[in-house]
C-alpha cells in the first residue's frame, strides 16, 4: 500500500514536470505572439526605429527568441531564473519578496476561507432545502456576483475611510506586531475570502448531498449516530474527492489571480509582477512568474488528486 502511494506520487510528479514544460512553451509562444518587444515597449512613446534597433542590439534581443528561451531553460536547470530585460535586476531578486507576500496572503486567506466554506457547505447540505440552505446559496452567489473590485472598494470606504478602523493600504513593511498584521491583512483577506468561498461552498454542498443519500449513511442513522457524526464521519470522507478538487481550484486563484486585490490594497504580490512583465514583454520574468503560477496550480491539483485517492481506499 505504502509503496503504491509513493509510486503514484512519483508518477504524478513526473507528469507535473511534463505539464510544466508544456506550459513554459505555451507561455513562450504566447509571449512571442504579442506584438512589440521589450525594447520598443520600454522606449514607449520614444520608440523611434533607430532607438529601438539600438536598444535591441544592446539588450541582445536580436538573438532568436527561441534561443533565448532555451538558454533561459538551461539557466533554470542551474537554479538561475535569469535577468529581467526591463530593469536588469536578477529575476530571483524581483520575485523573492513578492512571492513571500503572495504566499502569506494566500496562506492566511486559506486558513480563514477553507474552514468557513466547508462549514457553510456542509451545514447547507445537512439542512438542504431549508431557509438556511437558501440563505447560504443566495449569499454565496450574491457575494461572488459582486465584482471583486467593488467588494474591495466598499470595504475600504467603510472600514478605512468612514470608520477608520483599518488602514486602506496593506503596507506589509509596516507590520511590527500581531495587531498590525491583523489590521493589514484584514481587508484583503476578507475580500479574497468572499471571492473564493462560493465555489467551495457550492461544491461541498453538492458533493455532501450526493453522499448523504447513500446506504451507508442510512446505516449510520440506524446505528443511532447523530447528525454531525453522519455527516462528518460518513458522508464527508466519501465526498472528499470533489471537495478537495474544488478547494484546489479555488485556492489556485490565490496565486496568480489576485491582481485586483493587489492593486487596490497596494499589496506587493506576484500577480501584479506578472502583469508588469507581460506589459514589458520581459520574457525571463514572464516565464518565471508563469512557472510559479503553474507550480502552484500543479501542486494544488496534484495534492487534491492525491488526497482524493488516499481518501478512497479503493483507489489506493
Amino acid at each position: 500500500m505504502k509503496s503504491g502511494v509513493l509510486n503514484l506520487v512519483l508518477k504524478r510528479l513526473g507528469i507535473a514536470v511534463i505539464t510544466l514544460l508544456i506550459v513554459m512553451f505555451a507561455v513562450f509562444f504566447a509571449t512571442s505572439m504579442l506584438p512589440g518587444d521589450t525594447a520598443s515597449i520600454l522606449l514607449g512613446q520614444a520608440a523611434t526605429p533607430e532607438a529601438v534597433a539600438g536598444l535591441r542590439e544592446a539588450m541582445h534581443l536580436n538573438d532568436p527568441a527561441i534561443l533565448r528561451f532555451l538558454l533561459w531553460l538551461v539557466g533554470l536547470l542551474h537554479g538561475d531564473l535569469g535577468t529581467s530585460y526591463a530593469n536588469e535586476m536578477p529575476v530571483a531578486t524581483l520575485i523573492g519578496g513578492r512571492l513571500v507576500n503572495t504566499m502569506k496572503l494566500a496562506g492566511i486567506t486559506t486558513l480563514l476561507s477553507v474552514p468557513l466554506a466547508l462549514t457553510l457547505g456542509i451545514t447547507a447540505a445537512m439542512l438542504r432545502g431549508s431557509v438556511y440552505d437558501r440563505t447560504v446559496t443566495i449569499l454565496s452567489i450574491g457575494v461572488i456576483s459582486v465584482p471583486e473590485f467593488m467588494v474591495a472598494t466598499l470595504a475600504v470606504l467603510l472600514f478605512a475611510v468612514y470608520l477608520k478602523w483599518l488602514p486602506a493600504l496593506s503596507s506589509v513593511n509596516e507590520a511590527h506586531s500581531l495587531t498590525d498584521l491583523v489590521r493589514i491583512y484584514a481587508m484583503p483577506v476578507i475580500t479574497l475570502t468572499f471571492v473564493i468561498s462560493a465555489q467551495m461552498i457550492r461544491m461541498t454542498r453538492a458533493a455532501v448531498i450526493e453522499t448523504l443519500s447513500t446506504p451507508y449513511v442510512e446505516m449510520a442513522l440506524l446505528k443511532g449516530a447523530s447528525r454531525s457524526r453522519m455527516v462528518l464521519r460518513h458522508a464527508l470522507p466519501n465526498a472528499l474527492g470533489p471537495i478537495v478538487n474544488a478547494v484546489a481550484l479555488s485556492l489556485s486563484y490565490l496565486v496568480g489571480g489576485v491582481i485586483i486585490v493587489e492593486t487596490i490594497f497596494n499589496y506587493p504580490g506576484i500577480a501584479k509582477l506578472m502583469v508588469d512583465a507581460v506589459a514589458t514583454r520581459d520574457l525571463p520574468l514572464i516565464q518565471s512568474c508563469a512557472m510559479i503560477f503553474c507550480l502552484g496550480y500543479l501542486f494544488l491539483i496534484t495534492a487534491a488528486d492525491i488526497v482524493a485517492i488516499l481518501s478512497n481506499p479503493r483507489l489506493r
Binding site: 451507508y216 446505516m219 446505528k223 443511532g224 481506499p313
Partner: protein, 551 residues
Amino acid sequence: MSNLVEVRNLRIEAKTDSGRLVEIIKGVSLDIADGEIVALIGESGSGKTTVALSLMGYARPGCRITGGEINVSGRNMAALSEKERARLRGTDIAYVPQSAAASFNPSSTVMEQVIEVTRIHKLMPPERARQRAVELFRALSLPDPEGIGARYPHQVSGGQLQRLSAAMALIGDPKLVIFDEPTTALDVTTQIDVLKAFKSVMRAGGVAGVYVSHDLAVVAQIADRIVVLKGGEVQETGTTAAILSAAQHPYTRELLAAFEPKPRQAHADADAGTKQLLRIDNVTAGYGAVRADGLPLIRAVDSVSLVVEKGRNLGVIGESGCGKSTLARVIAGIHPAAAGDIVFDGKELQRAARKRSQDQLREMQIVFQYADTALNPAKPVEDIISRPLAFYHRLDRQARSKRVDELLDMVRLPRTLRYRHPSELSGGQKQRVNFARALAAAPKLIICDEITSALDTVVASAVIELLKELQRELGLSYIFISHDLSVVEAICDEIMVMYNGERVEQITPDKVTAPTHPYSKLLFSSVPKLDPTWLDGLVRDPELVSQYGHR
C-alpha cells in the same frame, strides 16, 4: 404491556414524484415477546424491509409512517423525537441490512464500523469493544477474526460483509435485532455456521429478533413464530411448527408448495442431436499484477473448461468467493481471460467484449449478481428495459412500450413499476428488472448470476418456470450460478462444482444425492430442510468441515 414489540395497525405511505400517495403498508399488526424470534416472510416487494425498518422508527426516503403505533419496550417509535430515537437505535434495537455490501462506508475500516455503535452510545471503551468484536467474528466463523477488522470493506467478500454487519448489530447488546435477509450471499456450508452463531448469541442474551427472509428452510431453523406478508398486509401469523405443518392461509400454502420446486423433467429432445453452444477450454483469469508468464497474481479462475449445449443448462455452484462470478465475467468478456479459449456457437470468441461483434454480444447476455449496482439509478425502469429493444432490435417507441409490459409481466412485476427509479424498488424487484433487461435482448445464452437470491419461493419458482418456458419455446441455454441448490437442481441439466477457482466435479441433478468429491458431499449435506429441528440435529463429518470449512 407484556410484549417487547407491539405494532398496531401500522400504515406507511410512499409519495411518488407526482405527489400521489401509495400505501405500501396497510395496517400491519404484530407482537414480539422478549427473546422471541419472529420471521417475516412473504412476497418480494410485500413490505418486509419496510416493516422491519419501521421498528426503528425509520422510513426510507420518499416513504412516511402515516398511522398506527410501533411500541418497542413501551415507547412509540413513531412518536418519539429524532433524538430519542437515535438513543434507542443501536443499543435497544439493531439492524442487519439487506444489502450488506452497500451498507459499509467504503472509506473506513471494518472494525471502526463494527464498534461504532459503542462509540456513539459510549457503551464501553474502544479497546474492550474491539475485543468483543473479535469474539463475535469468531462466533460468526469469519476467517482471520483477529485481522479482518483492519481491512476495508472492498477487501472483504460479500458473504463476509454480511456476517460483519451481523456483528455490527450484535455488539451493542440490543434487546431486539432485525435481520434483513442476512444469509442471502452465503453458500449453504457457511450459512449453517452463521445460523448456529445467531441462535447461540440470541439465546444466550435473551435477545428478541425479527428475521426477514424468503428462505423457508432457514426460517424453519431459526424462528419461533412466522408472520406472512403479502401486498403490505399480514396474511397469517403462527408458530413456526404450525405454519410449516398446517398453514391456514392459501398464500402461505402457496409459498410452502413452491418451496419444493418440481424437479426438472428429462429433456424431451435430450438426445436429439445435441449441439455445442459454448465451449471454454482451460480458461484462467484473476486479479492483481500480471506475472512474467502472462497470468495474474491472484487466480480466481484456474484452468476451467466447460461445455454448454444448445437448449441445455449448466449450473455452477460453490462456496462464496470461489470464482463463480469471475467465471461469468470471463465468459462475457468483461474480465478478459488471461489464458484459454472461448468458442461460442461454433465461432472462436475474442476474449474482450470490446472486440466482439454486436450480434455476438447480443446472443450472450449476463445478469449481474448485484442488481443494486447494475441498474442505472438515474433512469426509470422502462428506459432500462427498453434500451436493448431499441439497441438490438430497433423497435419503435410503441412496440418497445408493449414489449416492456410483456417483459414486466414475465418476471411478475406490476406494470406500474415501469415509471420508478431503481431506488424506489425492493431488493427482489431490482433483481427482476435486471433479469428482464437480459431477456429483452433475446439472446441464445443467458448467464444468470444469482438471479433468485432475493426472491420469495413463489416468485422464484415462477421465474424458474419462465426460464423453462423460454427454453422450450426459443431453445435458450443458461449458465446458472447460485448458492441455492434446490433451484439449481430444478433447472440444470449439468451441475459444475467449483472450489477455490477450480472445477472439482461435474454431476447431473439426479446424482446430487451421491456426489463423489468430498467438497461436493459437504455442500449437498448442508442444504437446510424445512424441518425446524434439522439444524440442531445436524451432524457433519468433522474431517470434511475442517478441510473445506472456512479458512
